[in-house]
């Protein structure tokens, strides 16, 4: 059957009228904060207590936008007659967000969990030089890092928990074994002690 003439025109009118009765999709951003998805890549926070100045992040960064300065400090031996220990102390840690392309490689390679994604995104500046943020600012952004989202139901157990459980199970099994042996020994003693 051929379509009724004008049915297409009526359909067009119906679409716009239906849209008018629905809720709008406009995000009123400055008045209402956007709802960001989990793992949003807003800015990179530095948990500097974990940083060992291994420089992996600075070397892996494709944009070379991470600046790290450090110096060595020696600490006296823990016990008399021991060797002096030396460690790296962080002097400067800066990320130039005018160069950063938010790939997150620095966060991936950090072996000590010192870098994190934060969803904070309102750090626009009027001068491009002010986009280089130093360690104090990066440390402040650490407070905005959200908890990691919960695992999916049925997901594999996190490695840390698995390892801890393994250790705990082993310990418990060992204890149980010792207890059993102790009991057996006690029973043997009782039998031997009743002539």
């Amino acid at each position: 059957m051929p379509p009724i003439p004008g049915s297409g025109l009526a359909k067009g009118l119906a679409v716009t009228l239906r849209t008018m009765t629905r809720k709008t999709v406009t995000a009123q951003y400055p008045d209402a904060q956007p709802e960001l998805p989990p793992r949003s890549r807003g800015v990179i926070g530095l948990f500097e207590e974990n940083c060992t100045v291994c420089m992996l992040c600075a070397r892996e960064c494709p944009d070379w936008c991470i600046y790290i300065d450090s110096h060595k400090e020696t600490s006296p031996p823990a016990a008399p007659g021991g060797r002096e220990r030396s460690r790296n102390v962080l002097d400067r840690f800066a990320i130039d967000f005018s160069l950063c392309m938010y790939c997150g490689i620095c966060i991936e390679v950090c072996p000590f969990d010192a870098l994190f994604w934060s969803p904070e995104f309102e750090y626009a500046e009027t001068d491009i030089h002010e986009l280089t943020h130093e360690r104090d600012k990066l440390r402040e952004w650490m407070w905005t890092v959200p908890e990691p989202p919960a695992l999916d139901p049925g997901a594999e157990e996190p490695k840390e928990i698995a390892a801890a459980r393994k250790a705990a199970d082993k310990l418990a099994a060992q204890r149980a074994q010792e207890q059993r042996e102790q009991q057996e020994r006690n029973q043997a003693d009782e039998k031997g002690g009743t002539p």
Binding site: G12, L13, T16, L17, T19, M20, R22, T24, V25, Q28
Partner: protein
């Protein structure tokens, strides 16, 4: 003395309506169009849902520099916005909003003739603007306007003539006095043709070929800035008000309705006009622009035959009931 104050009062009311109604339509268009597209529209100006957006726009236009191109025909260029706007004010004077002589700015015996003739002058403003701007795009827009005016004036006149035939008078108040509810189905084809032709004459989407901003910038208005440009925009919205009011008066029975004769007539006129204005906006949001040849084809192969058929029908029914 009493006559003078009476005339002054009527003219003042018409003038206020002429200034306020187009802004109301414009604001409605902002909001309705936005919501039909899933947006919110203006939200800031004036505080409450952007009610003062058009006031803000007006202030902005007033601040802009009034540029006249060096090669332009100065006087014609500067006169064009007034020519585009003022005819709608004149038309508004003769449109009756309620029963009796008290509810019309000035009753004119040859109402339909006056209204259609004066509305035609409004299009002349665009022609003047297109010619005087010394700009190729303006000239193209102006010529398209002329072509559109030529093809759409005819069906508009024919359908208006059909109503005049039905009522046996060309006076707008006379037509309303003669109106009966069964005119609605009788003249429905004429009403549709009149409304569509009126839209085309106002160069409203989907008939906005002459001002197609993505093709010929803004047609005849390309070279206009500031207040003169604002006047052209105001003319478009005043045109919507006038067209909707005219369609209401000619085809939808104007003030007729429950309690229409007992003082609520003006409310019916306003309601019907507002509804039609909504339809104008609705059509703008829903349909893409017609191509120039499609535009002409619609007028000559669809609207004119339909209008002629309507006249024939009106004549037959008129003879039959006499």
């Amino acid at each position: 003395m009493n006559d003078v104050s009476d005339v002054a009062l009527r003219l003042a009311i018409v003038f206020v309506v002429f200034l306020v109604a187009p802004l109301l339509v414009g604001q409605t268009e902002h909001k309705v169009m936005a919501h039909m597209q899933g947006r919110l529209g203006p939200m800031y100006a004036g505080g409450f849902h952007g009610w003062a957006q058009l006031v803000a726009d007006g202030v902005k236009f007033a601040q802009k520099e009034d540029v006249v191109p060096a090669a332009a025909d100065r006087r014609v260029f500067q006169l064009a916005p007034a020519v585009a706007l003022l005819p709608y004010l004149l038309v508004l004077v003769v449109i009756p909003v309620g029963p009796g002589d008290g509810a019309v700015g000035q009753a004119v015996d040859a109402g339909i003739f006056f209204v259609l003739a004066v509305m035609g002058i409004g299009v002349l403003g665009s022609l003047m603007a297109g010619w005087a701007s010394a700009n190729k795009f303006s000239l193209l827009g102006g010529l398209r306007t002329a072509a559109q005016l030529l093809s759409y004036e005819l069906p508009m006149l024919l359908t208006a003539a059909s109503v005049a035939m039905a009522a046996g008078t060309v006076s707008l108040t006379g037509i309303l006095d003669a109106f009966a509810w069964w005119w609605l189905p009788w003249q429905i084809v004429g009403a549709l043709v009149f409304f569509v032709a009126g839209l085309a004459e106002l160069q409203r989407p989907p008939f906005d070929m002459p001002v197609a901003d993505s093709e010929i910038i803004f047609g005849a208005y390309t070279e206009y800035t500031g207040l003169r440009f604002a006047l052209f925009l105001l003319a478009e919205y005043a045109g919507i008000v006038v067209l909707c009011a005219l369609t209401t008066v000619l085809f939808l029975g104007g003030w007729h309705g429950p309690f229409g004769a007992d003082g609520l007539g003006w409310l019916w006129t306003v309601l019907k006009t507002a509804l039609l204005a909504f339809v104008v906006i609705w059509l703008r949001v829903s349909y893409p622009r017609l191509r120039e040849d499609q535009l002409q084809k619609l007028a000559w192969t669809t609207l004119v035959p339909l209008a002629l058929a309507q006249i024939a029908l009106t004549g037959i029914v008129k003879v039959a009931i006499n």
